[in-house]
């Protein structure tokens, strides 16, 4: 009992507690609405089910959000990821559509390499503006956010490029080892980033730069280079997400591809407990945040609510999660609880109501 008492605040105080609670609540609501929701079945050696779909659809968001996490950890922000998604998808699809044989693996790989290269250049551009010229990140990336969309439309000539390439479609809807390829890819990138940042000093260095760039520079860290790198990684992640999104629908739309993904990604990062001020980052939290957002979207679709009206729910959940995590809100809440000395149960109910509202 006593250990439970002491451990309870440790659990509820954990930064991932409320996001996970909301995620579980959402899943439970879905399961009640449609009991078959939780079912996962094997068909032709592939896993199928709503849960698998949610993870598969959240794969691009996870990727973008991972890159965003690193950028935010350095104290920056990258608004241009949506445009990078559009550009990378457009470049890849344009190249494939110009090939005589769209199914040839070689030309698909060339297309991917070209699109990836262009995206790295875009990331380098962002990084140079922020780290070398010293422009405020939000504006520096705003430039590419606006211009990149135009660039993507320029590449596709304002058309929607449709392709018919099996190897390319594989990225979006293919399966590897019973799992959808997108999930495997997202998992691989997540692990790679996690190992690179948490098993080496890189993660600490990134946090040092985000905490205080000048101090980290004086401590011998090449702060500029780290910042530059963060934007390049972010663009690279966005490029891969762009492949997934365009492969999902086998077409590239310069206008609509990756629209608002930057906002979703930033939300995922914030829900995951990473502060927009920089200096700390939680990759696991980001993944949970991305899953939460996709679950919310999917459940709203499943319940036959207008996709646009889904934004209403998103707004509620975002504010609820951010409020619950905000130190100022917690402090006010704690003070009130101390004053009334009441049991925690009703206040817990209030929180749930907020989330459910």
């Amino acid at each position: 009992m006593s250990s439970w008492r002491t451990r309870l605040p440790a659990v509820t105080g954990h930064r991932l507690f409320w996001p996970v609670v909301v995620l579980i609540l959402l899943l439970a609501a879905n399961a009640i609405y449609r009991p078959s929701f939780l079912a996962v079945e094997m068909k032709n050696g592939h896993l199928y089910g709503s849960l698998v779909d949610i993870v598969r659809l959240s794969a691009p968001l996870i990727l973008v959000a991972l890159g965003m996490t690193l950028v935010i950890a350095t104290g920056g922000i990258d608004l241009s990821v949506g445009s990078v998604v559009a550009v990378s998808g457009a470049v890849a699809c344009l190249h494939i559509s110009q090939q005589p044989d769209q199914n040839s693996l070689g030309s698909v790989l060339v297309a991917l390499a070209m699109a990836f290269g262009v995206s790295l250049l875009l990331g380098l551009w962002n990084g140079t503006l922020v780290a070398v010229i010293g422009i405020q990140p939000i504006i520096a990336t705003l430039i590419l956010m606006v211009a990149g969309r135009g660039l993507a439309q320029l590449i596709t000539s304002g058309q929607i490029i449709t392709i018919n390439s099996d190897p390319y479609r594989m990225i979006g809807v293919g399966h590897v080892l019973t799992l959808p390829f997108a999930i495997v890819l997202a998992l691989a990138v997540t692990l790679l980033v996690a190992v690179l940042t948490r098993r080496t000093a890189l993660g600490m260095i990134v946090e040092a730069v985000g905490g205080n760039a000048e101090a980290s520079r004086l401590a011998g860290i090449r702060a500029r280079r780290i910042k530059l790198l963060a934007y390049v990684v972010s663009a690279a992640c966005a490029a891969v997400a762009g492949f997934m999104m365009t492969a999902n629908v086998s077409s590239a739309d310069g206008n609509a591809a990756g629209l608002w993904v930057e906002l979703d990604a930033i939300l995922a990062v914030v829900i995951g407990g990473t502060s927009l001020a920089g200096g700390r980052f939680y990759l696991g939290g980001t993944v949970v945040g991305a899953l939460l957002i996709q679950t919310l979207t999917t459940s709203v679709y499943a319940m036959n609510i207008d996709p646009q009206t889904a934004l209403l729910f998103k707004a509620m959940v975002v504010i609820a999660v951010c409020l619950v995590q905000a130190p100022a809100f917690r402090a006010k809440f704690r003070r009130r609880r101390a004053m009334t000395a009441g049991p925690a149960a009703p206040t817990g109910e209030q929180r749930k109501e907020q989330v459910a509202a």
Partner: protein, 336 residues
């Protein structure tokens, strides 16, 4: 060094600082004139005064929204919800008019919703210390969701007051302006006066310059911060009304991405995104620059609409680099 020399030096620095502060606005003005000049030299019809009036008519609502955004950005914040609030206001008015409410009441309700949302967002930002970016992002989702909740398709406005306001032409010689432009001009004038000559305006600049010292000086930081988001909400609501005059309908997906145009206009107008420096006049010039770009591209006919975005991106880049070169920076970007 004698005192007179010192005084002279001091004089020189102050004399230097003044245009330095206003230089971005002057550059915007020069840019606007150059672009207009290009238009006039390339296309005969461009020299028609009506072209200038049309820029105002077509961008009046953006101008009003950008003015509200200027207040928020001057305090160092940002408001992403403006586009959605514009759409929501137009949508609510269209829906209420369809239901037969008197226009005066509809106007009142429509003008109240925006500021209320802004007030709530401001309170959350101030009291719970959540970043404006996130809070106004949620506000953006909320307002946009509300639009579709009201109706998933466009609602036409047939009300007599609205149509007469939309179709009223104010003749000036051979050319005309709309009622919307007059409202826009009034809003710009009131906003410019508020920022330059009232206590609220001073507080806005002070908080944008340094919130810590503003607080230590005893300025009402919280009240001002909540006020600017409310003002931005009000401007968006007025923008929404103007848009409903302009299109005579409410559509759930109208004004998507308008917040970006507004922010771009504010930046091109020479306002620092870190806050503390900028003018409503600059914002007006920024909106006009965007408007003239669009007009130029329309006149050309061979350029596609995406060039607008690329040019706006290029201009944003040019202005931000200019601000850097002028040494306008508040926080140390500290990566040397």
């Amino acid at each position: 060094m004698s005192t007179s020399q010192l005084a002279e030096r001091l004089n020189r620095t102050t004399r230097w600082r003044l245009p330095r502060r206003q230089l971005p606005v002057l550059v915007s003005l020069a840019l606007l004139l150059v672009m207009y000049g290009i238009g006039v030299s390339q296309y005969q019809a461009f020299s028609n005064i009506q072209v200038v009036f049309n820029v105002f008519i077509d961008n009046g609502f953006l101008l009003v929204v950008a003015v509200g955004m200027t207040f928020v950005i001057l305090t160092g914040g940002i408001d992403l919800s403006v586009g959605s609030v514009v759409a929501m206001t137009a949508m609510v008015s269209a829906a209420l008019l369809r239901d037969g409410l008197p226009p005066a009441l509809v106007l009142l309700i429509a003008l109240l919703i925006g500021p209320t949302l802004g007030f709530v967002m401001g309170c959350i930002i101030h009291f719970f210390e959540i970043q404006p970016f996130i809070v106004t992002l949620a506000g953006m989702f909320f307002a946009r969701g509300l639009c579709t909740w009201i109706s998933s398709s466009s609602i036409p406005i047939t009300d007599g007051f609205w149509t007469s306001a939309a179709q009223e032409r104010i003749r000036i010689g051979d050319n005309f302006l709309t009622v919307g432009v007059l409202i826009t001009v009034v809003v710009v004038a009131v906003a410019a006066y508020t920022l330059a000559y009232t206590r609220l305006g001073r507080n806005v600049y002070a908080i944008g310059g340094n919130p810590q010292s503003a607080l230590l000086m005893g300025l009402p930081v919280g009240r001002t911060r909540i006020a600017v988001y409310t003002i931005s909400g009000l401007c968006s609501a007025i923008g929404g009304i103007l848009l409903s005059f302009y299109t005579l309908s409410g559509a759930p997906l109208i004004a998507v991405g308008m917040e970006l145009d507004a922010i771009a206009a504010v930046v091109i107008g020479g306002t620092l995104l870190t806050g503390g420096a900028g003018y409503v006049l600059g914002t007006m010039l920024g909106v006009l620059v965007l408007g003239v770009i669009q007009t130029l591209i329309t006149f050309d006919g061979t350029l596609n609409s995406w060039w607008t975005k690329i040019v706006i991106g290029g201009l944003l880049f040019a202005f931000i680099v200019l601000q850097r070169l002028l040494g306008f920076r508040k926080k140390s970007f500290s990566t040397r």
